[in-house]
C-alpha cells in the first residue's frame, strides 16, 4: 500500500486482490490516528507484522503497524490535526469514488471510532484491473467555518500486484480565534455632590445702637468641632491676591499633644449670630483652608494654629487654561519665565490686569475681581456702623505714583539680501577686425574661471562662439576664415555675457518706545517715570543663506526700491520669536505698564473698624459715608477678630481708592504700534562692471595700442585690469608680454549694506485711571 504524501518501506499485499463486489473499505478515526480497514477481511490483505516507518513531508512518523487487513498509523506528531481533535468536535465523513470503485456510504455525522465503508466494484467498462478508491474526509471543528480535508486513495494495482495508495492532504487548520477577555471591575457607584445652601440674614448681623450682638464662632478642625475648646482671639485675614489666613488658639484636652497630626488638616470657621434664645439666626463662612503651622506653648499649654486657604498650592495645581479663564490676563514666554510654576504664572497674568485674585471664603476658585469700584457700593457704612475713632485714611506717597511707564522694546531679526551683477565683454571690433589683426581671443574657460573666482554665484553665462569656416567679405576683400576649432569644440569666444549674484545677511532692529501715560495724573503731579526694557530676537542663522550656491532659486525676495539688482527678505516669521510672537509680547508689556500705573494710583487706603461683618468679601465695593471721610472703593483687606473671652467681634475693613487728577482720557487700546520703516534705509544701485581689452606683445606703441578700436592700456602687470588681457599673435620681438588673463571685478558688498539697520518708533499709550470717591473733611 502506498500513501500519497507518505512513503512506506514496502508493505506489499500478500495475495492478489480478487475483484469482489462485496469488498468494502472502511476508515476509522480514533483519538490518536486512523485505521484503514477492509471490513470483510477478504481483501486487500496485508502481511501481518509488516510494520514500517512512514514519512510525510520529510518528517518521520511513528512506526506504523500492519496486521492482516488493518493498517494502523498511530497518532504521530505530523498528524497534528487529529491530535487536536477533542471531545465535542464533530467529524463529517464523506467518500468520493473515482475510477472503478464506488463507496456508497458516508455523509453521516460520526464519532471517533466509527467506520465508513462502501462496496468496491470493478471497472466493467474499461476492463482494466486497476482500482482506485478515493476517500475524502471532511473534519469540522466546533468553530470551523471550513472543513479539514483528508483525501485517501486506495489503488488496487490489479490481481497481480495490488497496491493501495492513500493520499492524505492536511489542509491548514482554520478557525475563528477568540481572545478571552477578563474585565475586573474595581467598583461601581454613582458619585454625588451634596450641596448645602446657607442663606443668611444680613439684617441679623446689624446691631442696633445700644444692643449687643450675640454670636458664636464655629471652628471645625479635621472634622471635629473644637469651638468650645478655643481661647483668646479667632482671627481671619483676607487680602487681595494673597492667601486667606486664620489664627486661633486651642486648649487641648489633658494628655500628650502631637501637633504634627494637625498639619494639613482641614479647617472651617463660621460666624453665627444668635437670638436671645440662643438659636442661630445667621451663619456665614469666613474661612476654609488647612492647618499650616500648629505651635504648642508648653507654658500656657495651648496650641496656636496658623491656617491658610492654600491659594498658592491650589494655583500650582490648576491648569493654565483655567488660570487664563479665571484671571483673564495676557502672557508671553518672551516676557515671562516659562520654567516657573503655575503660581508664578498666575502672578504673571495678574501683572497684566487691573484685578485681584483669590479664593472665596468657601475655598473655591473664582474669577478675578476688577480693582475698579462698582458704580453702586455693595455695602455702605456710616457713623452707626463705624466704631468710634477707628476711621483712618492713608494717602499714597507722591514718589510712588508712577504715571509714566516708559517701555523700550526692541525687536531684532535678520534680513536676507541678494545682489546681482551683470557683466559683458565684447571683442573690440567686428569679425573682420579680428581676421585682419593679430589680436587673440580669450578662452571661454578663462572667462568662466574669472566668474567663479569672484566668489559670487554664477546665475547665467553665455558666449558668442567663432563662426564656422567661411569666405568672409571684409570691405570688399574676400578673406578665407578657417575655424580650426572643428572637432575640438568651441574654445574661444567673440563675446561673453553673464550675471553673478551674491547672498549676504543684514541685521535689522526695530526700536519701539512706548510712553504709557496716565495723562490725568501727569497733568496733576508731573511725570513720575518708571522704565522697562524688553529685547526680542527672531532666531535665524544667516550662514546657510550666505553659503548656498543655489542663488537663482530664491523665491519670495522683494526688490529693493530704487535699485534693479538688489533683493531682500525679512526673516521675522521664525518659530522662535516671529513677528506675531513679538507683537503678543509687546501687548503683554503694554498691559504690564498700564497695570503698574493703575496699581500705583490705588494705594490710597481708607480703613474702618466695624462691628462684625462676616459677609464682607474682597469682591465687594464699600462706601464709607461719614462726616470726616467719604470714600468708595473696592475692599483691599479684611480682618475679622472674634475674642472668645471678651465676647467681642470686630471687622477691620480697608478700602482701596484710586485717585487721578486732571481730565479723564479715552484709553488707548492695547495693540502693537506700527512697525518702523527699515526698508528704505537699504542702499541699492545698478552695478555693471566695465570689462575692457588690452594686448601685450606690441612694440609699436608704448604704451601700446595695437588697435584703435578699443582703449589702449599701459603694460603694467601689477595693475588690476578688469576684462581681457591678452597678447598679439605673433607678438613683436622685444615687446613686453602679459600673462594672459581674464578678470571680473564685482566689487565688495559695502559695509553699509551689511551693518545693522535700526528703525525707531515712538508711540504714546494713554491709560485711564479711575478717579474714585475720596473726600476728607477737616
Amino acid at each position: 500500500m502506498l500513501l500519497n504524501g507518505f512513503t512506506t518501506n514496502s508493505v506489499p499485499l500478500n495475495a492478489p486482490l480478487a475483484v469482489d463486489p462485496n469488498l468494502s473499505v472502511g476508515f476509522a478515526v480514533n483519538d490518536h490516528g486512523f485505521n484503514l480497514t477492509t471490513l470483510n477481511g477478504d481483501a486487500p490483505a496485508f502481511a501481518a507484522g509488516g510494520a514500517g516507518t512512514f514519512t510525510f513531508n520529510g518528517r518521520t512518523l511513528n512506526t506504523a503497524s500492519v496486521n492482516g487487513s488493518t493498517i494502523t498509523i498511530p497518532g504521530g506528531t505530523s498528524i497534528t490535526v487529529l491530535q487536536n481533535l477533542g471531545p465535542g468536535d464533530l467529524l463529517y465523513f464523506d467518500a468520493l469514488l473515482q475510477a472503478l470503485v464506488e463507496i456508497d456510504a458516508v455523509a453521516t455525522q460520526a464519532a471517533p471510532g466509527d467506520l465508513i465503508y462502501g462496496d468496491v466494484e470493478p471497472d466493467v467498462a474499461g476492463g482494466a484491473t486497476n482500482y482506485l478508491i478515493q476517500i475524502e474526509i471532511n473534519v469540522f471543528g466546533a468553530n470551523s467555518a471550513k472543513p479539514l480535508v483528508w483525501i485517501n486513495q486506495i489503488i488496487f494495482d490489479g490481481p497481480e500486484a495490488p497496491v493501495v495508495p492513500v493520499e492524505i492532504e492536511v489542509a491548514p487548520p482554520q478557525d475563528a480565534p477568540v481572545i478571552p477577555v477578563e474585565v475586573v471591575v474595581f467598583g461601581e457607584g454613582a458619585p454625588v455632590i451634596p450641596i448645602a445652601i446657607n442663606v443668611f440674614d444680613e439684617a441679623a448681623l446689624v446691631v442696633a445702637p445700644g444692643e449687643t450682638l450675640r454670636w458664636q464662632a464655629v471652628v471645625i478642625l479635621d472634622g471635629v468641632d473644637i469651638s468650645t475648646t478655643l481661647v483668646g482671639d479667632i482671627k481671619v485675614e483676607a487680602e487681595e491676591s494673597t492667601a486667606r489666613i486664620a489664627d486661633f488658639v486651642l486648649l487641648p484636652a489633658v494628655g500628650v499633644v502631637d501637633v504634627t497630626d494637625w498639619v494639613g488638616a482641614p479647617v472651617t470657621i463660621d460666624f453665627q449670630t444668635l437670638d436671645s434664645a440662643g438659636l442661630i439666626t445667621s451663619s456665614v463662612r469666613i474661612f476654609t483652608g488647612v492647618v499650616d503651622v500648629p505651635k504648642y506653648d508648653p507654658v500656657s499649654r495651648t496650641t496656636e494654629f496658623r491656617c491658610t486657604d492654600n491659594l498658592q498650592q491650589r494655583m500650582e495645581q490648576t491648569p493654565r487654561d483655567t488660570i487664563d479663564t479665571l484671571v483673564g490676563g495676557r502672557w508671553s514666554d518672551l516676557i515671562f519665565d516659562t520654567e516657573e510654576d503655575n503660581w508664578t504664572y498666575t502672578q504673571d497674568q495678574l501683572s497684566t490686569v487691573s484685578s485681584a485674585f483669590e479664593l472665596s471664603p468657601l475655598g473655591a476658585l473664582r474669577g478675578a475681581t476688577p480693582w475698579a469700584a462698582k458704580g453702586s457700593p455693595d455695602y455702605t457704612f456710616d457713623e452707626d456702623n463705624v466704631l468710634d475713632e477707628s476711621i483712618d485714611a492713608e494717602l499714597e506717597s507722591f514718589r510712588n505714583i508712577v504715571n509714566l511707564y516708559k517701555l523700550n522694546f526692541d525687536y531684532s531679526f535678520e534680513r536676507l539680501r541678494r545682489r546681482d551683477v551683470a557683466f559683458g565683454w565684447n571683442f573690440p571690433g567686428d569679425f573682420c577686425n579680428f581676421l585682419e589683426s593679430r589680436m587673440k581671443l580669450p578662452k571661454k574657460q578663462s572667462i568662466t574661471s574669472a566668474a567663479e573666482g569672484t566668489g559670487w554665484a554664477i546665475e547665467s553665462l553665455f558666449f558668442e562662439d567663432l563662426p564656422p569656416s567661411a569666405l568672409v567679405n571684409c570691405g570688399g576683400v574676400d578673406r578665407i576664415w578657417v575655424n580650426t576649432e572643428n572637432g575640438f569644440g568651441p574654445l574661444f569666444c567673440l563675446s561673453a555675457q553673464g550675471r553673478l549674484a551674491k547672498r549676504f545677511g543684514q541685521a535689522v532692529r526695530e526700536d519701539y518706545t512706548l510712553n504709557i501715560r496716565g495723562s490725568a495724573s501727569v497733568d496733576d503731579f508731573g511725570a513720575v517715570t518708571e522704565e522697562n526694557r524688553f529685547s526680542v530676537r527672531s532666531e535665524y542663522d544667516t550662514g546657510s543663506w550666505e553659503d548656498s550656491v543655489n542663488v537663482p532659486d530664491t523665491p519670495g525676495l522683494a526688490p529693493v526700491a530704487g535699485g534693479t539688482d538688489d533683493f531682500f527678505e525679512d526673516r521675522d516669521n521664525e518659530a522662535v520669536a516671529g513677528r506675531g510672537d513679538m507683537e503678543t509680547a509687546m501687548e503683554v508689556a503694554i498691559d504690564v505698564g498700564k497695570t503698574a500705573i493703575r496699581g500705583a494710583h490705588r494705594q490710597n487706603t481708607v480703613s474702618v473698624n466695624l462691628s462684625m461683618q462676616p459677609q464682607l468679601d474682597l469682591i465687594h465695593t464699600v462706601k464709607i459715608d461719614t462726616v470726616p471721610v467719604q470714600a468708595q472703593g473696592k475692599v483691599r483687606q479684611l480682618t475679622w477678630t472674634m475674642n472668645i473671652d471678651a465676647g467681642t467681634a470686630v471687622t477691620v475693613c480697608e478700602v482701596a481708592i484710586s485717585k487721578a487728577g486732571g481730565t479723564p482720557v479715552v484709553e488707548t487700546p492695547t495693540a502693537p504700534p506700527t512697525k518702523p520703516d527699515t526698508v528704505s534705509q537699504m542702499t541699492a544701485a545698478l552695478r555693471r562692471p566695465v570689462l575692457s581689452t588690452r594686448y601685450g606683445g606690441d612694440s609699436g606703441n608704448a604704451p601700446p595700442g595695437e588697435f584703435t578700436l578699443g582703449q589702449s592700456q599701459p603694460i603694467d602687470p601689477e595693475v588690476s585690469f578688469p576684462g581681457w588681457t591678452g597678447n598679439l599673435d605673433p607678438f613683436d620681438g622685444g615687446a613686453l608680454l602679459y600673462d594672459e588673463t581674464f578678470d571680473i571685478d564685482t566689487a565688495d558688498v559695502d559695509a553699509v549694506d551689511r551693518d545693522e539697520i535700526i528703525g525707531d518708533s515712538e508711540t504714546d499709550v494713554l491709560v485711564n485711571i479711575p478717579n474714585e470717591l475720596l473726600i476728607l473733611t477737616a
Binding site: 475586573v184 471591575v185 457607584g189 458619585p191 446657607n198 442663606v199 440674614d201 451663619s283 495645581q317 483655567t322
Partner: protein, 143 residues
C-alpha cells in the same frame, strides 16, 4: 467596593470634596451667583470609569437632584457646565444633565473640570440640603 474616582476641589486631585459643597448667600439676594469649580478624577493608575448601563457607549452624566421638588430650593438654582464661560449659556436645572463623556480616565491631568453656578432663589434663611448633583451609576475598570 467603592470607586477611586471622586470629586476634588483642585485639578491636582489633592483636595477631595469632603462633606457638602457649601454655598452661602445673603437672604436679600445681594450675594449673586456663586461659581464653583470641581474636578472629577482619580489618583489611581491606569483606571477609567464608564457608565454601568452600557460601558463605553452610554454617557457619564451629572444630574441635579431635588429631594423635595416643588418646595424649598429648586434645581433651577443650579447651572452646570464644563467651563466657566459655559455657565453663562447653561440652562438652569441642567435638564437632560451635563454630559462628561463616555470614558473618563484616572490620574492627574485627566481630571474633568466641572463648573457649578448656584444662586439662591428663595431668600429663606437657613441651610438647605435638599439639592445635590448626582452622577449616573459608573463602573471603574482598568484602562
Amino acid at each position: 467596593m467603592a470607586i477611586s474616582f471622586a470629586f476634588f476641589n483642585d485639578a491636582g486631585l489633592t483636595n477631595p470634596l469632603v462633606g457638602n459643597l457649601q454655598i452661602q448667600q445673603a437672604s436679600d439676594g445681594s450675594t449673586g451667583p456663586v461659581d464653583v469649580n470641581l474636578f472629577f478624577g482619580s489618583n489611581a493608575v491606569g483606571r477609567k470609569v464608564q457608565a454601568a448601563s452600557d460601558p463605553g457607549i452610554d454617557s457619564i452624566i451629572l444630574n441635579i437632584e431635588d429631594a423635595a421638588p416643588g418646595s424649598g430650593h429648586e434645581d433651577t438654582e443650579i447651572k452646570l457646565a464644563l467651563t466657566q464661560i459655559g455657565l453663562d449659556s447653561a440652562t438652569p436645572g441642567a435638564p437632560g444633565g451635563q454630559t462628561l463623556g463616555t470614558v473618563l480616565l484616572s490620574e492627574v491631568g485627566n481630571a474633568t473640570s466641572i463648573w457649578i453656578r448656584i444662586e439662591d432663589a428663595t431668600g429663606v434663611i437657613g441651610t438647605s440640603l435638599e439639592l445635590s448633583i448626582q452622577m449616573n451609576n459608573v463602573i471603574e475598570v482598568d484602562v
